[in-house]
């Protein structure tokens, strides 16, 4: 076999390795637990479903185009193909076809996802905030409405980095920032929202399983960004109420009259 052809074969195979190893990486990753973390939210199923749908769609296009590239390199290698190249400047029908099909697909994708987006970010449940989360360098300050169920009253409960959420109930967070941008990222609840100084942003979800999970800051907020870590505990209504009572007891023991004006500088 001439050296040039051998080189052509090897280079073509290198480009074939792209889709082969690409698909293999995604296929093997879940076995090593390098994959979407467990979802414990009601809306997460729609997000994950959309992720898998786009993964399948782009996967097909990826494999198809990469294999076409490999095949053309293999077949039209100058060391293999004889005679001159095909003299052609394009094809009007092909251009129309490969414009309209992706356009329709992308438009479908755009419309298909709107409802999920609206559910997560626009259709706010009609309720008062379950908790106020105030981000600051480098912690999550939490403020539960006291026994009166209203935020901003003297009986509010103050905590840091330790969010508790009742399972199977709508939960509404009022998100604020005291200083710089932060992002309230709950990987297992498929929630992410930047906290912006000067803004009050509502965030809501319904947890479906109990357990303890991470709260991560996902927007650069300074040198200690990496350690701005919180935990969210999802528990039954009874456990949640019991926990809330114990926290009140603790707070009242140490801090008889919490004054909202000084306890948390509110923007």
């Amino acid at each position: 076999m001439p050296v040039n052809r051998l080189a052509g074969i090897l280079w073509s195979l290198l480009f074939l390795a792209v889709p082969v190893l690409g698909v293999a990486t995604f296929a093997v990753a879940p076995a090593f637990d390098i994959w979407l973390p467990a979802d414990v939210s009601e809306h997460g199923k729609a997000i994950d479903g959309l992720f898998y749908f786009i993964l399948a769609l782009t996967g097909v296009v990826f494999v198809g185009t990469e294999i076409a590239l490999f095949w053309f390199l293999w077949k039209y290698d100058a060391a293999k193909a004889t005679g001159p190249a095909t003299y052609v400047h394009g094809n009007h029908t092909l251009e129309v076809v490969w414009t309209i099909i992706p356009a329709a697909t992308l438009l479908f994708l755009a419309i298909y996802q709107m409802n999920t987006w609206a559910d997560v970010k626009m259709r706010r449940p009609p309720m008062s905030p379950s908790v106020e989360v105030v981000a600051r360098q480098f912690e999550w300050r939490l403020r539960y409405p006291g026994r009166d169920g209203t935020l901003g009253t003297p009986d509010d409960l103050f905590l840091v980095n330790d969010l508790h959420v009742p399972v199977d109930e709508d939960f509404l967070v009022q998100l604020k920032s005291m200083d710089v941008l932060h992002s309230f990222f709950l990987p297992n609840l498929r929630i992410k929202q930047d906290a912006v100084p000067g803004m009050k942003i509502p965030v809501w979800f319904k947890a479906t399983e109990t357990g303890q999970f991470d709260i991560v800051c996902a927007e650069l907020c300074g040198w200690g960004h990496y350690k701005m870590k919180g935990r969210v505990t999802i528990e039954s209504r009874e456990d949640f109420d019991r926990w809330l009572e114990s926290q009140y007891a603790k707070q009242e023991a140490t801090q008889p009259e919490p004054d909202p004006a000084t306890a948390v500088a509110s923007n």
Binding site: W11, L21, E95, A103, L106, Q137, P187, V196, A218, G222
Partner: protein, 602 residues
């Protein structure tokens, strides 16, 4: 027309340099030169040096991600505060400056500054740029930027560390982080100077391409490289003023006590902003109004160059020339109305997010059309696996990945989970490194003979390609699955989170690949400098290409052409039936067989 030498007679002349019209001093020839080729090479050398610096910054970032808080080998002694480990604020500075250097001092100036300068007059058949002095200034305005960014590493508190996006109030409040002092101010000044340089280049490129084309060079006979440079220049001209204005507003917030980007009474780290009433999101809108078009400024020229290189080494006309031009224009037009997709999680009205989601989905369309046309170009060709071709092919192969992964982020609900994770880091490295940088390497191997009169070594070029391709995918492809876990970017140490604690071995693997990738570039550097002096003499047209620059001497002398080029056809007439040689240059005299073949093909 009697003074016009017929190009055919000139092609085989062995003359190496055009007659120099006047004697010039060393200083005006090589330093303060107004010759577009010298300026182009000045941009090339400067940006390659910064490319190395940016790469080393990336390695330091990767070191911390793979082995957090462990002693940094060799370099640790240089910068570490105690022992050899890096502090978290140092890590924050590293990734800020890695992105800043790569975007503002490498990608944008190497595409527009180096290739744009060198190629535009040569490929349109002009003797120089329309405004040579302006052109010289566009290079020298980069130096205040080099100095500002370079010096910022050595000022108190270190260089900027609020990310390359510089989001307020982290960037505006001087107490927010150590780098938010002088480092951030120098960063803004440097950015402004890069903007001035780009703007001077931009008006020059537009004027030159519109007014100085050779006789017969109609707009639809321009090579794709020039179309891409032209549309990039238009993008720069319309988008840059917004960034410059925003930069001055941030500078005023920091130094004059204005409050464009800070709300009333904003206190960070016990430091209160003097005035308020502003909006942190305003900066994001202004910044991305430039920086999203800038994403296309960072890839369109590479797309153009790759289109030209693919046709040369497939020996075939470009598939769908006009659709290719229209899709670049489409990308540029839509590029102005998609900036909000960087802000889906920012607190911007979610209803506005839907608008930006739809426009973002639609901008995938022209990219898809371009990819299909590149595949159509290779189909039925006679592929020659030169180093330049391999890099161009890898551009196509990798751009497919980078383009498709963008759809995940465009889907707003999915973006909730993957926003600011390694999924987006994978995406833009596939577009900008695996895409643009491959296009740049391809362009260097391809036009090196025109720049220096000699060809680069093909064997070592292929070794360079193979290892870069391997290590690049090892580093960046794995970022996709890291992103699928939700692994956040910009964290100095993420392993104390339960969700991410098991990801260290994967990150170590990626860092080893990154080290391999940077080390591989030594092969490129050696080949580059060795070939500059000892490579085989190239002659005018070593690749048997069609475009005008290959009719000029290698390297072209002052004034470029030793004859007046007259253009008779488009740039991609390869393998024309009935024509003896397999390519017809744009200057080759009209050919009856070619005219017949062209008529038959349409």
């Amino acid at each position: 027309m009697s003074t016009i030498t017929t190009p055919a007679a000139v092609h085989h002349e062995p003359t190496v340099s055009a007659p120099a019209p006047h004697q010039a001093s060393f200083l005006s020839t090589y330093v303060f030169s107004k010759d577009h080729k010298v300026i182009g090479l000045q941009f090339l050398f400067s940006t390659l040096v910064w490319f190395l610096i940016g790469g080393l910054l990336a390695l330091a970032v990767r070191w911390q991600i793979a082995w957090p808080w462990s002693d940094v080998p060799v370099l640790g002694k240089l910068f570490a505060q105690e022992g050899g480990q890096m502090a978290p604020e140092f890590y924050t500075m590293l990734f800020t400056m890695h992105a800043t250097v790569m975007i503002f001092l490498v990608i944008i100036p190497i595409l527009a500054g180096a290739f744009g300068n060198f190629l535009i007059p040569l490929m349109i058949g002009a003797d120089d740029m329309a405004f040579p002095t302006l052109n010289m200034l566009s290079y020298w305005f980069m130096w205040p930027a080099f100095i500002a960014f370079g010096a910022s590493f050595f000022v108190e508190g270190g260089a900027a560390s609020s990310g390359w996006t510089s989001y307020p109030t982290l960037s505006t409040n001087i107490a927010s982080s150590p780098g938010a002092g002088w480092g951030q101010t120098l960063w803004l000044l440097g950015l402004t100077m890069v903007g001035v340089s780009s703007m001077l280049g931009s008006v020059n490129y537009m004027t030159t391409i519109i007014l100085m084309r050779a006789p017969g060079m109609t707009m639809f006979r321009l090579p794709m490289t020039i179309w891409a440079m032209f549309i990039t220049a238009v993008l720069q001209a319309f988008a840059l003023p917004v960034l410059t204005a925003a930069g001055f507003m941030q500078l005023a917030d920091r130094t004059l006590g204005t409050g464009f980007f800070s709300p009333e009474g904003n206190i960070v780290n016990n430091w209160m902003q003097a005035t308020g009433g502003g909006q942190p999101l305003l900066w994001q809108h202004l910044f991305w109004f430039y920086s999203h078009p800038a994403v296309y400024i960072m890839i369109l020229p590479a797309m153009g160059m790759v289109s030209d290189i693919l046709t040369t080494f497939a020996r075939k006309p470009l598939f769908g020339y006009r659709p290719m031009v229209y899709s670049i224009a489409g990308i540029a037009g839509l590029g102005f109305i998609v900036w909000g997709h960087h802000m889906f999680m920012s607190g911007m009205n979610p209803a506005l997010g839907i608008t930006f989601m739809v426009s973002t989905m639609m901008i995938a369309l022209p990219s898809a059309v371009k990819t299909f046309n590149w595949l159509g170009t290779i189909w039925g060709g006679r592929v020659q696996f030169t180093t330049a071709m391999l890099f161009s092919l890898s551009f196509v192969s990798m751009f497919i990945i980078g383009g498709l992964s963008g759809i995940f982020m465009a889907a707003t609900p999915v973006d909730i989970f993957i926003h600011d994770t390694y999924f987006i880091v994978a995406h833009f490295h596939y577009v900008l490194f695996a895409g643009t940088a491959m296009g740049v390497f391809s362009g260097i191997y391809y036009w090196f003979p025109k720049m220096f009169g000699r060809t680069m070594n093909e064997f070592w070029g292929k070794v360079h390609f193979f290892l870069t391709f391997l290590f690049m995918n090892g580093t960046f492809f794995t970022m996709h699955i890291l992103g699928a876990v939700g692994f956040p970017r910009r964290l100095a140490d993420a392993y104390h989170y339960e969700t991410f604690h098991h990801l260290q071995p994967l990150n170590a693997f990626m860092t080893w690949c990154a080290i391999g990738m940077v080390a591989t570039q030594a092969i490129f550097a050696a080949n580059f400098f060795w070939s500059m002096f000892f490579g085989p003499i190239a002659g005018r047209n070593p690749w048997r290409s069609n475009t005008l620059e290959w009719t000029a001497p290698s390297p072209p002398g002052h004034g470029n052409f030793d004859f007046q080029p007259v253009v008779h056809r488009g740039p991609y007439e390869y393998s024309v039936p009935g024509v003896e040689k397999d390519h017809l240059m744009q200057t080759d005299p009209p050919n009856a067989a070619a005219t017949a073949a062209l008529a038959a093909a349409h």
